[in-house]
């Protein structure tokens, strides 16, 4: 979708047209998830371990075909949360797979929690819902 309208301003600079570009669908969805593992400090997890557990979760619920979906682990924060990027058409399935994952390969109980989901990565930079925590 693309339409062009002439800008109706009278600036000293030559009048530039105002162009408008729109994207109908976003190809990715970004999820901020936290992971808690029984009797373990999940803040010590590194990126590879985190990614391995995400892939395990996907393999359990969605099988080998589902686990082949390209999931990118963009950032691991120190407190056991991370940002992952998933293709938007398989978001529900991956979200469900993360939610249903209950125990690590070593037999410890664990849980993924999706804290924030957004089609824009910038949307995850701030969460306006935890103000009370931020101020106190």
């Amino acid at each position: 979708m693309k339409c062009t309208t002439a800008a109706e301003n009278s600036n000293p600079v030559p009048v530039k047209p105002t162009n408008f570009y729109a994207e109908k669908t976003q190809s990715y969805v970004y999820l901020k998830t936290s992971l808690t593992i029984e009797d373990e400090n999940s803040s010590e997890l590194n990126g590879n371990q985190y990614k391995f557990l995400i892939l395990q979760a996907m393999k359990e619920t969605l099988g080998q075909v589902g686990a082949a979906t390209p999931v990118d682990l963009l950032k691991v924060f120190g407190d056991g949360t991370c940002i992952i990027r998933v293709p938007s058409r398989s978001t529900e399935k991956i979200w469900a797979a993360l939610t249903l994952y209950g125990s690590t390969p070593s037999g410890k109980r664990c849980a993924f929690r999706v804290i924030h989901a957004s089609p824009f990565l910038l949307g995850l930079a701030f969460n306006s819902r935890n103000h009370r925590d931020a101020t106190s």
Partner: protein, 179 residues
């Protein structure tokens, strides 16, 4: 009330290097289920398990008809490709046809056998060999009649058997060969 829609996959089970192998239908069912769980996980198995069944298995021609729900049928066909073993025997699944009813699969199967006849017959030297080949196919098709009997209840359809269709077809082929 909406009808529950199914799809039927007509598969040929090929046992490479083991010509005289036969399997039972519950073994096929277990193999499909295991492959579905492996390739599509809990989700894929849960989506198809209620509708999954091996409707028909011919141990002589190694033809199987597998039923699955229409909405998730692509998951079933994709997992059939990954089956490598049934009951300890190496196997390759070759999906010949996907139909909306057993009847359409059967029609295809008859056509398929008829087509294969033309490949078998020229290689037969003597009339005895030819009769032998014909007999084995007819024996194989006996079980097809059983599968067809489910659909026999519709009165408007003329009652004919798969075997008679085969024989008619066979006659046609002979005429062609003569001319």
């Amino acid at each position: 009330m909406v009808r529950f829609k199914n799809r039927y996959a007509l598969c040929e089970l090929m046992f490479p290097g083991q010509p005289e192998t036969s399997v039972e239908s519950h073994q096929v069912y277990q193999a499909v289920k295991a492959s579905l769980l492996d390739s599509h996980g809990d989700f894929g198995l849960a989506a198809l398990q209620s509708s999954l069944s091996v409707k028909y298995l011919n141990i002589k021609t190694n033809i199987a008809v597998i039923r699955g729900e229409r909405r998730h049928f692509d998951m079933l066909t994709s997992s059939l490709v990954f089956i490598r073993k049934i009951g300890g025997k190496d196997v390759v699944f070759k999906t010949l046809h996907v139909g909306g009813s057993i009847r359409s699969c059967q029609k295809f199967l008859i056509g398929h056998h008829r087509k294969n006849l033309t490949q078998i017959f020229p290689s037969c030297k003597t009339p005895e060999e030819r009769a032998e080949g014909m007999k084995s196919i007819m024996a194989a098709c006996d079980t097809l009649d059983w599968g067809y009997s489910v659909y026999k209840q519709t009165p408007s359809q003329p009652a004919y058997s798969a075997l008679s269709m085969l024989q008619e077809g066979d006659g046609d082929e002979e005429k062609e060969e003569e001319s």
